[in-house]
C-alpha cells in the first residue's frame, strides 16, 4: 500500500473517530476510556509480527516487550471495561 493510500485511510478514520464520539453521557466516560484504550492495543498485531520475525536478540527482546505490553493493554482493558459495564447493567 503506497503512502497516499495509507494517508487516506488515516484521514478517513480520523473523521470517523470524531463523528463516533458525540454526546457521550458522563456515566460512560470511564468505560469508554478503558474500552478505547483496549482498542488502541491493536499494536498487538504489529508486536506479533515483530516478535515472530526471528531477527536479532535486540529485535526479539523489543518484540517480546511489545507483545507483553500490548497484551496487558488488550486483555486488561477489555476485561475491566466489561466488569464496569456489568455493574451498570445489573439494575
Amino acid at each position: 500500500m503506497d503512502f497516499v493510500a495509507q494517508l487516506t485511510l488515516f484521514v478517513l478514520a480520523i473523521f470517523l473517530g470524531f463523528e463516533l464520539i458525540t454526546k457521550v453521557p458522563p456515566t460512560l466516560h470511564t468505560p469508554l476510556m478503558s474500552g478505547s484504550n483496549a482498542i488502541s492495543g491493536i499494536t498487538l498485531v504489529g508486536a506479533l509480527l515483530a516478535a515472530g520475525h526471528g531477527g536479532s536478540t535486540l529485535i526479539s527482546v523489543l518484540g517480546f516487550v511489545a507483545v507483553v505490553l500490548a497484551t496487558i493493554n488488550v486483555i486488561g482493558g477489555f476485561m475491566v471495561t466489561n466488569r464496569m459495564l456489568a455493574m451498570f447493567k445489573r439494575k
Binding site: M1, Q6, F10, A13, L16, G17, F18, L20, I21, T22, K23, V24, T27, L28, H29, T30, L32, M33, S34, G35, S36, N37, A38, I39, S40, G41, I42, T43, L44, V45, A47, L48, L49, A50, A51, G52, G54, G55, L58, I59, L62, A66, V67, V68, L69, A70, T71, I72, N73, V74, G76, G77, F78, V80, T81, N82, M84, A86, M87, F88
Partner: protein, 460 residues
C-alpha cells in the same frame, strides 16, 4: 499454517469494522456491553489472523509474551478495586504507549527502508515514549505514590520545548538524510521519555482524567504511526480512530470540568491566586457532631440528599450509604443522590461505585437537576466530597477552582459533612462550607460514620 496477505487484510478490515461498531456502541448506555464485546471480538480476529502471517517464523517469543501479558492483564482487571479504576486506566494506557514504542524501535532496528517508514517510526517512538512515561506519572499521582500537587521549576516549559524541538529535529534529520543513527535514536527515546514525565508533572492530580484521555488519544496516534512504518492498515485505521475519539473525549471532559485544554495542559489552574490560609477560614467556626445527633436530625427530615465524593470511594462506603438510604426510605423520607460530573477521580466514578452497591439508577441526579432542589432539602449529607461542594468556586474570583460548577449543598437547611479531618481535597484548598452556620462536621472514616448513624437511626 499460513494464509495469503489478501485474506489477512480482509480480516483486518472486518476487525476495523468491529472496532467502529464497538466504539459506537460504547457511547450509548444501552449498547455499551455489546460494544465492548464487539471490539474485543475484533481484536481477537486481528490477533489470530496475524499469527497466520507468513512473516512469522518462530512462535516461542510470541507465546511467552502472550501468556505473560494475558496473565498480568487479567490479574489487573480482576483484582482492581473500583476506587482505583483511574489508576488502572492510566497504567494500561502507559502499557499501550510502551507497546507502540517497543514495536517502532523493533522496526527501526530491523531497518527502515523508506522516508515514510523512517519518519513514522520516529513519530511512533516519540509519541509512544511520551505516552509511556506520562501515563506512569499520572498513575503515580493517582495512586499517591507522589503528591497530587503540580510540580515544576522555573523554565520547565522552556526545557520541554527544547526536548521537543530536539526530538523532532533528530527525527527530521534521520528522515532527510535517510541515514539511521542509533545514538541519535536512543537520544530521542531519552528525550521523549523525559518529556512525558515533565509534561504531566506540573498538572494537578485533579486534572489527571483529562490527561489520561489525552494520553489515550496519543497511544492511538502512536499505534497509527507504527502502522505507517509497517504498512499495516489495521494499525493505521484503528490507531487513528482511537486518536480522534480520545481527543473528542478529552474536549468533552474539559467542558464538564469547565476548563480549557490549554489550561489543563499548562497547569494554569494551580498558578492562579494565593494559597488560602485554612486556619483563618475554619478557626472557631467548626461545629463537630456525633452519629446520634445526626440521626436525630435525620429522624425529622422529609427530604435528604446524599452527596458522595472521592472519600466515599476511599472508605468503600457505598454499601453503608445504601443501607442508610434504605433505612431513611423505610421511614418515609425521600432520598436522592447528587452526582457531580467530576466527583471522585474520574468521570462517572460515583455512578460506577453506587451501581456496585445496587443503588437504583433513577435516584442518581446530575448536578443541573439537583441544584435547584437544595433549598427544599432538609439535610444534605456530604460523604467524602470536598472540592465539588466548595463555595469558593462560585464566590472567590481569585480561587484556583473559580468557575468550576459546584453542588450548592450550602443552600440546604442542614449540611452534614462526613470526613476524617479538616484536611483539604484534591485541589488542596480549604472549604468555607465546613465553617458555615448550618454545617455540622461528622468526623471519622466515611464507612464507620455512616454505619453508626444508620444504627443510631434504627435504634432511636
Amino acid at each position: 499454517m499460513q494464509i495469503a496477505q489478501h485474506w489477512i487484510d480482509i480480516a483486518y478490515l472486518i476487525a476495523a469494522a468491529l472496532f467502529i461498531l464497538g466504539i459506537k456502541g460504547l457511547s450509548k448506555p444501552k449498547t455499551a456491553v455489546r460494544g465492548n464485546l464487539l471490539a474485543a471480538t475484533g481484536m481477537g480476529i486481528a490477533a489470530v489472523v496475524t499469527l497466520l502471517h507468513h512473516d512469522i517464523v518462530s512462535y516461542e517469543v510470541i507465546i511467552a509474551g502472550l501468556i505473560v501479558g494475558a496473565v498480568i492483564g487479567a490479574i489487573l482487571a480482576i483484582r482492581v478495586q473500583m476506587t482505583s479504576m483511574p489508576q488502572l486506566i492510566a497504567l494500561l494506557n502507559g502499557f499501550g504507549g510502551g507497546a507502540s514504542f517497543a514495536l517502532a524501535a523493533a522496526e527501526y532496528f530491523k531497518g527502515v527502508d523508506s522516508t515514510v517508514a523512517m519518519a513514522a517510526s520516529g513519530a511512533a517512538v516519540l509519541i509512544g515514549a511520551v505516552t509511556l512515561t506520562g501515563s506512569f506519572v499520572a498513575f503515580a499521582k493517582l495512586q499517591e505514590l507522589i503528591g497530587g500537587q503540580p510540580k515544576g521549576f522555573p523554565g520547565m516549559k522552556l526545557v520541554n520545548l527544547v526536548l521537543l524541538v530536539f526530538s523532532l529535529g533528530a527525527i527530521g534529520y534521520m528522515t532527510w538524510t535517510g541515514q539511521p543513527n542509533d545514538t541519535l535514536f536512543w537520544a530521542v527515546v531519552a528525550a521523549a521519555a523525559l518529556l512525558g514525565i515533565m509534561l504531566v508533572m506540573p498538572i494537578g492530580g485533579a486534572d489527571m482524567p483529562v490527561v489520561i484521555a489525552l494520553l489515550n488519544s496519543y497511544s492511538g496516534l502512536a499505534a497509527s504511526a507504527a502502522g505507517f512504518v509497517m504498512g499495516n492498515s489495521a494499525l493505521i485505521i484503528t490507531g487513528s480512530l482511537v486518536g480522534a475519539s480520545g481527543l473528542i473525549l478529552t474536549q468533552i471532559m474539559c467542558k464538564a470540568m469547565n476548563r480549557s485544554l490549554t489550561n489543563v495542559l499548562f497547569g494554569v489552574m494551580a498558578e492562579a491566586g494565593e494559597a488560602m490560609d485554612a486556619d483563618e477560614v475554619y478557626k472557631g467556626k467548626i461545629k463537630s457532631s456525633s452519629a446520634d445527633e445526626v440521626a436525630m436530625i435525620l429522624e425529622t427530615a422529609q427530604r435528604v440528599v446524599i452527596v458522595p465524593g472521592f472519600g466515599l470511594a476511599m472508605a468503600q462506603a457505598q454499601h453503608a450509604v445504601r443501607d442508610l438510604a434504605d433505612t431513611l426510605e423505610a421511614r418515609g423520607t425521600v432520598v436522592e443522590y447528587a452526582i457531580h460530573p467530576v466527583a471522585g477521580r474520574m468521570p462517572g466514578h460515583m455512578n460506577v461505585l453506587l451501581a456496585e452497591a445496587e443503588v437504583s439508577y433513577d435516584k442518581l441526579k446530575d448536578m443541573d437537576t439537583i441544584n435547584p432542589t437544595f433549598e427544599q432539602t432538609d439535610v444534605a449529607i456530604v460523604i467524602g466530597a470536598n472540592d465539588v461542594t466548595n463555595p469558593l468556586a462560585r464566590e472567590d474570583k481569585s480561587s484556583p477552582i473559580y468557575g468550576m460548577p459546584i453542588l450548592n449543598v450550602d443552600k440546604a437547611r442542614t449540611v452534614v459533612v462526613v470526613k476524617r479531618s479538616l484536611s483539604p481535597g484534591f485541589a488542596g484548598l480549604p472549604n468555607p462550607l465546613f465553617a458555615k452556620d448550618n454545617t455540622l462536621m461528622l468526623f471519622g472514616d466515611g464507612k464507620q460514620a455512616i454505619i453508626d448513624t444508620t444504627n443510631a437511626l434504627k435504634e432511636g
